[in-house]
């Protein structure tokens, strides 16, 4: 087992790099090939600094609205930052002539901004000048990613994703006049794609936690996909990595999820900010705590999230006048249990997404 604080052996590094290149590459919208619009794809990163949590998301989505007579792809960067004063952030869009997205590679350029994967390292640059946000980071993967394809939702095309739960981030995040320097800070990455439509009969809870101590080997990702009313679970899983490799997955009936209390934010930060006019108010179906209890094949685990603050990314639905709200909630977590005879006790930081309508 290689703790995250130590460099990977060359063989493990080669496997990791190859897995990322072959799995995390940009697919690209088939709109240019004459297919029907509605495709969505994004690269998502979360970085936990000492006093700062940073979410940065590069997306290209087929816009379904008529624009000069035909649908088109539209690129955006969404950035959310949490500090002691709460959430802030911005959204910035890019016309197609400022966008380069290389299919089959991990290489996006939106104006001066970029995500590249080269020589085993992600390089991210995101500049959002309206809010004086600047991010320049190098992220070194520390775990082998886990893909999931054709995850069905009830009344629409499937969702696909690949999850890379642990990276080490080094670089600078500037927010206003404050510069945060990060040195091997824990980070997370995922990549989603598909023709799924906002507003259809699905919702998700998606959480990822990394330990406070870099020497701790355990990384975790929780996913629960359900119907819109959270009455029927389509799939649920708790993925556990030890070091660079996936070590255990608790699925479906092995896992129970309970919500406790309600997070009652005085005010929820919203992006894009103008969407506060369409979706005012701060009421959200977010618990104060969420507990996962997993048991199966002689293994058991318990993970508890204690939620702190929520930011909302509000997206117009594709087929009706409603909105889909992605609640990004930062948290602390504990993770403990016994897996393959090994006792585990970890504390750390997490972000959980609650998708609601």
């Amino acid at each position: 087992m290689i703790p995250a604080s130590e460099p990977l052996r060359p063989v493990a590094r080669e496997v990791l790099d190859r897995t990322i290149e072959r799995g995390d590459y940009w697919r690209g919208s088939p709109l240019r090939l004459g297919e029907a619009p509605g495709y969505k794809e994004w690269l998502h990163f979360c970085i936990y600094g000492e006093d700062i949590d940073v979410l940065v998301n590069f997306s290209i989505v087929d816009e379904l609205a008529s624009h000069a007579g035909s649908p088109r792809e539209f690129a955006r960067i969404v950035c959310l930052i949490h500090t002691k004063t709460g959430w802030t952030g911005d959204v910035i869009g890019f016309p197609s002539d400022q966008v380069t997205a290389r299919r089959g590679a991990i290489s996006l350029e939106f104006g001066e901004n970029r995500v590249h994967f080269h020589d085993g390292v992600f390089s991210i640059r995101a500049m959002l000048p309206e809010r004086d946000i600047a991010i320049e980071l190098m992220l070194t993967p520390a775990t082998i990613p886990s893909p999931a394809n054709n995850i069905g939702v009830e009344d629409g095309p499937p969702i696909h994703w690949i999850v890379l739960p642990r990276l080490l981030a080094t670089g600078v995040v500037r927010l206003g006049g404050t510069v945060h320097r990060l040195d091997r800070a824990p980070a997370y990455h995922d990549h989603n794609w598909g023709h799924f439509r906002w507003g259809k009969n699905f919702a998700w809870e998606w959480g990822y936690g990394l330990p406070e101590r870099a020497s701790e080997a355990w990384s975790t990702v929780f996913v629960r996909l359900s119907d819109r009313g959270h009455n029927q679970t389509f799939m649920q899983a708790l993925f556990v990595w030890k070091g660079e490799r996936q070590h255990r997955v608790f699925r479906d009936e092995e896992l129970s999820v309970t919500h406790h209390g309600l997070l009652r934010p005085a005010k929820a930060f919203k992006l894009p900010r103008v969407m506060g006019l369409v979706h005012p108010g701060s009421a959200a179906d977010i618990p104060a705590r969420m507990v996962l209890e997993a048991e199966g094949r002689g293994d058991r685990a318990r993970m508890e999230f204690v939620f702190e603050d929520v930011a909302q990314v509000i997206i117009p639905n594709d087929d009706d006048l409603g909105v889909t709200v992605i609640n990004e909630v930062n948290a602390t977590y504990t993770f403990g249990g016994v897996i393959r005879g090994e006792a585990i006790e970890v504390t750390g930081r997490a972000v959980v997404e609650f998708l609601s309508h």
Binding site: H67, R72, F74, R273, P280, P316
Partner: protein
Amino acid sequence: MIEREQPRLFVRLCGDLGARVIDARVESERVRIARDGDRLTASEVPPTAPVIAGAIWVESDFATIDALLDGETTLLDVVWGDRVRLRGSIDELLGAHDALVTFLCAAVRCPSAPELLKRFRDGVAGRTTAPTSLVESSAA
């Protein structure tokens, strides 16, 4: 913009507005919004022109509109706080609110809206000489 980029929602917006006339004043700018058949017109009105009988009167300032667009406050808070002042019958005001919601839902789905919003907010901030009016004529 909405007529061009969200034609179905434009039809719905016209239906929601119905026969109502909205007379809106933002500092020294004043516009009258009304339906003309299957079109919507937004006409500039001299600041001292009399209000049409039965029109809904809305008055505010650019700083308040900017704060709403920037998510600093909500429509409810600015009305309660007298930063947006309304005059009309309850039924007419509620109907106008429905039309406003349809307008907002349509606008956030228009590809041109972010650029239009940016121009408006830059104008408010005084960073450019771009017009501050957010109202587009419905002329093709």
